[in-house]
């Protein structure tokens, strides 16, 4: 107990953790004294403890007791009470600097917290720090506002009003002001607490941008698969990476920095790390291509197919949407039929297309370990309709018709089995998409209403015509009876037949 500890408080938000953070801490120099500041999950603490001597700083007393019971050395209390000066070889703060002060005592802002941690670091010591991006994709799609958080730990919900640096350059500047030099900086996706993708700004800028945009969209999509969002985070993440704004839209930035003097051995970290259990590295190969390599296996998962060159090209889903928005039917048909011929059981968010020459598209699986899917065209139809995307068949407003058209456009028969209501492919739970669907339904309803008015008017008109013809028919019948049996009778009979034909024609027009 160092003072400021919180006897009954338990952190309500998850602690920093996950496979990639575990990999990062394993790359730190072994054998020294390590301070793990703030909530980090047990696996992470254990990973550090396996190689170094660990002290944890936590504000929650129940958590401190738990760590103590597991044999971990603990400083329980608030950041301002730390008296250790230049004691640690490494300080790990992957949870950021926002949960280091307890409710008691001074409430340090980001710069003050950094200053306090730096003091604890030995000259030449290393800091591993995460900084949440308040304008990151995770914030932009969040339904809830960080500034109105209601958890027990949110006694100062500052959100974007906090003073922490807002981009990697300012982050490096803030660290330099404290005498900390950045050795490595990377962006983290899709959430600050447990990223499944870490990529350096250099990789996002100069690497295989299209493929990395696809990888980023995949990482974000997986995290938000079952969560309600404001807008589709996959599109936002992919557009950001493709547009050269990956660093600005990442959920967090990670840095490894050292206090002068420069340590003899600096930490060497890869450009891109990927994984939610296993760890996969994506790094430039010898001939300029980018190679994917599984560097940490996960039990029960065969990932050997991931080893090798990262498939180059653009995500099929984005190419399809782009062609649909441009109303480029020839391209859309080419992509649909190429896809269905090459990878008929892969969803378009798991296929990358390399369009080197105009006539030759190469379709490859982005992640060959994902299970095969059926009904991939229906899923894409659902994406088009659900997302409210403009496409070349605007009158096909129901899933069945659009699926049938897509089958035709992909070179398949247009007869597709009907799907029971409720068995349609899932739609992302996104407010913007909901809004689009609502607008589309209003339009369809208005169209249907005026269509039924049109039919009523048409019916009315035909009804009047029919009555007129009936009268003519009656007159003709009268004449028939008057001229029965004579030559005139035969002429009149002809007249009836003409009138009947005319009436039938009108009826036919109605059907």
């Amino acid at each position: 107990m160092i003072g400021g500890e919180m006897p009954a408080f338990v952190e309500d938000d998850p602690a920093a953790g996950g496979a990639l953070f575990a990999y990062l801490v394993d790359q730190l120099p072994a054998g020294g004294q390590v301070l793990i500041a703030g909530p980090h999950d047990d696996a992470l603490v254990d990973a550090v403890a396996a190689r170094s001597s660990v002290t944890c700083l936590v504000r929650s007393q129940p958590k401190a007791n738990e760590l103590d019971a597991r044999g971990v050395e603990v400083l329980c209390g608030t950041l301002s009470k730390i008296t250790d000066v230049e004691r640690y070889d490494v300080v790990v703060a992957l949870d950021g600097l926002g949960r280091l002060c307890s409710a008691e005592g001074p409430q340090y802002d980001w710069a003050e917290s950094l200053q306090a941690l730096k003091k604890a670091l030995r000259p030449g010591g290393t800091l591993l720090l995460a900084v949440e991006n308040e304008l990151g994709v995770h914030r932009l799609v969040d339904l809830a506002s960080a500034t109105s958080a209601q958890g027990d730990g949110a006694w100062l919900p500052l959100g974007e009003f906090d003073t922490k640096p807002g981009n990697p350059t300012r982050l490096a500047g803030g660290l330099a002001a404290e005498g900390l030099a950045v050795d490595w900086l990377a962006t983290a996706w899709p959430s600050p607490a447990a990223p499944t993708l870490i990529a350096t700004p250099n990789a996002l800028q100069d690497g295989p941008v299209d493929a990395l945009a696809a990888v980023t969209a995949g990482a974000v999509g997986k995290a938000y698969a079952d969560r309600a969002v404001l807008s589709d985070p996959r599109r936002l993440a992919a557009a950001a990476v493709r547009g050269g704004l990956g660093s600005e839209f990442a959920a967090a930035w990670l840095v490894v920095a050292h206090r002068a003097p420069r340590p003899a051995s600096t930490v060497s970290l890869p450009s891109v790390l990927l994984g939610d259990g296993p760890v996969i590295e994506i790094a430039p190969g010898l001939d300029g291509d980018w190679q994917r390599r599984v560097i940490r296996q996960a039990p029960g998962r065969d990932l050997s197919t991931l080893n090798g060159p990262l498939p180059a090209g653009r995500l099929l889903e984005e190419l399809l949407l782009g062609a649909a928005l441009r109303h480029d039917l020839p391209m859309l048909r080419r992509l649909l039929s190429g896809w269905i011929a090459a990878l008929p059981e892969a969803t378009p968010d798991n296929v990358v297309v390399h369009q080197d020459s105009p006539s030759e598209d190469v379709y490859r699986l982005l992640d060959p370990t994902l299970p095969a899917q059926t009904d991939v065209l229906r899923r894409f139809a659902q994406t088009l309709l659900g997302g409210g995307y403009a496409h070349p068949w605007p009158a096909a407003t129901d899933l069945q018709t659009l699926t049938s058209i897509l089958h035709g456009a992909a070179g398949l028969p247009d007869t597709v089995p009907a799907v029971e209501p409720g068995d349609e492919p899932p739609l992302p739970d996104s407010r913007r998409e909901h809004e689009e669907q609502l607008r589309a339904l209003r339009r369809q309803l208005a169209d249907a209403a005026s269509r039924s008015e049109w039919y009523e008017r048409e019916l009315d008109r035909r009804e009047k015509q029919l009555r007129k013809r009936d009268k003519e028919l009656d007159r003709a019948r009268l004449q028939i009876s008057a001229f029965s049996g004579t030559v005139s009778y035969r002429v009149a009979k002809l007249g009836v037949s003409v009138a009947r034909k005319a009436r039938n024609q009108i009826r036919k027009g109605l059907s």
């Binding site: 039917l329 020839p330 035709g408 247009d414 269509r451």
Partner: protein, 277 residues
């Protein structure tokens, strides 16, 4: 849906292309553009039923249609191009000769007749070979008008476009294709579907002569056509440029497969089982 879908036997051609009975094309779920135009793809005065697709010839027409408030336009390409996929190469005559001339239809009366005679003179001056005049139905039926043309050359008519689903010359486009394939050049005094069809059928196009404005015609529109497509106006054109534009206006490269068309037209259910399997 609309009787204009049956004009010139368009629906019949599409049904044949889709593997359905060309004698009895099912109702198209929407409106099929029935002629080249510089508006939204629908003919003037077509009562548009909301929410129903317009099937237009080209992407440019779709964009224009959208800008005019039509939200449901889909590009399918011109029925004539579908007909070309059905017509076998053996239909192609060995040798082409002369010009097939489509006078802009719709002039009648004394004062036009003088202009008309000047037009015929200009045609005969311009064209090297024999000239076939192709008249629309109502001029063709008019003995006096027909006789005027017969003095200058062969006079034909492709048939009646049809009205309210009746009396459509189902073979209208077939007749037109057969005639176009006999001629080296196709010409008119106005840019029209016939010129585009002619280009698709392999004729050299030309548009010249008095455009013969109608009494209440919207002149700016006719003048806009000349400004927008100068490569298609003149007696002797740059054939590569003229062909590129004409084929784009017909929607070359945008033709849908029979399956896709059936799905768009609401015809999937009409598919004979044999074809479905």
């Amino acid at each position: 849906m609309h009787h204009a879908n049956h004009f010139y036997g368009h629906a019949h051609v599409m049904a044949e292309y889709c593997g359905l009975d060309p004698e009895h094309p099912p109702r198209i779920n929407g409106y099929l553009q029935h002629g080249w135009n510089v508006v939204d793809g629908l003919g003037a005065g077509t009562p548009y039923v909301p929410g129903r697709p317009i099937f237009v010839w080209s992407e440019q027409t779709r964009r224009r249609s959208w800008s005019m408030g039509r939200r449901q336009a889909t590009v399918v390409g011109a029925p004539f191009l579908y007909l070309l996929t059905l017509a076998t190469p053996s239909d192609e005559p060995v040798e082409r000769s002369g010009t097939i001339w489509y006078p802009f239809h719709g002039w009648e009366g004394q004062h036009i007749k003088g202009d008309h005679q000047r037009l015929v003179d200009e045609i005969l001056e311009t064209e090297d070979g024999p000239v076939t005049f192709c008249l629309y139905w109502h001029e063709y039926r008019n003995d006096r008008v027909r006789a005027e043309y017969e003095k200058a050359g062969r006079v034909i008519c492709h048939g009646y476009r049809g009205y309210m689903w009746r009396d459509t010359t189902r073979e209208f486009l077939h007749n037109q294709l057969a005639e176009l394939r006999k001629h080296k050049r196709v010409a008119s005094n106005r840019l029209s579907s016939a010129i585009f069809h002619g280009v698709a059928a392999g004729c050299e196009p030309a548009v010249y002569g008095d455009p013969m404005y109608l009494d209440k015609e919207d002149r700016p529109t006719a003048e806009r056509v000349r400004r927008d497509w100068p490569e298609l106006h003149g007696k002797h054109l740059d054939l590569a440029a003229a062909r590129a534009t004409a084929m784009a206006e017909l929607g070359e490269g945008y033709l849908a497969s029979p399956a896709e068309l059936r799905a768009m037209f609401g015809w999937t259910a009409y598919l004979p089982t044999a074809v479905a399997a």
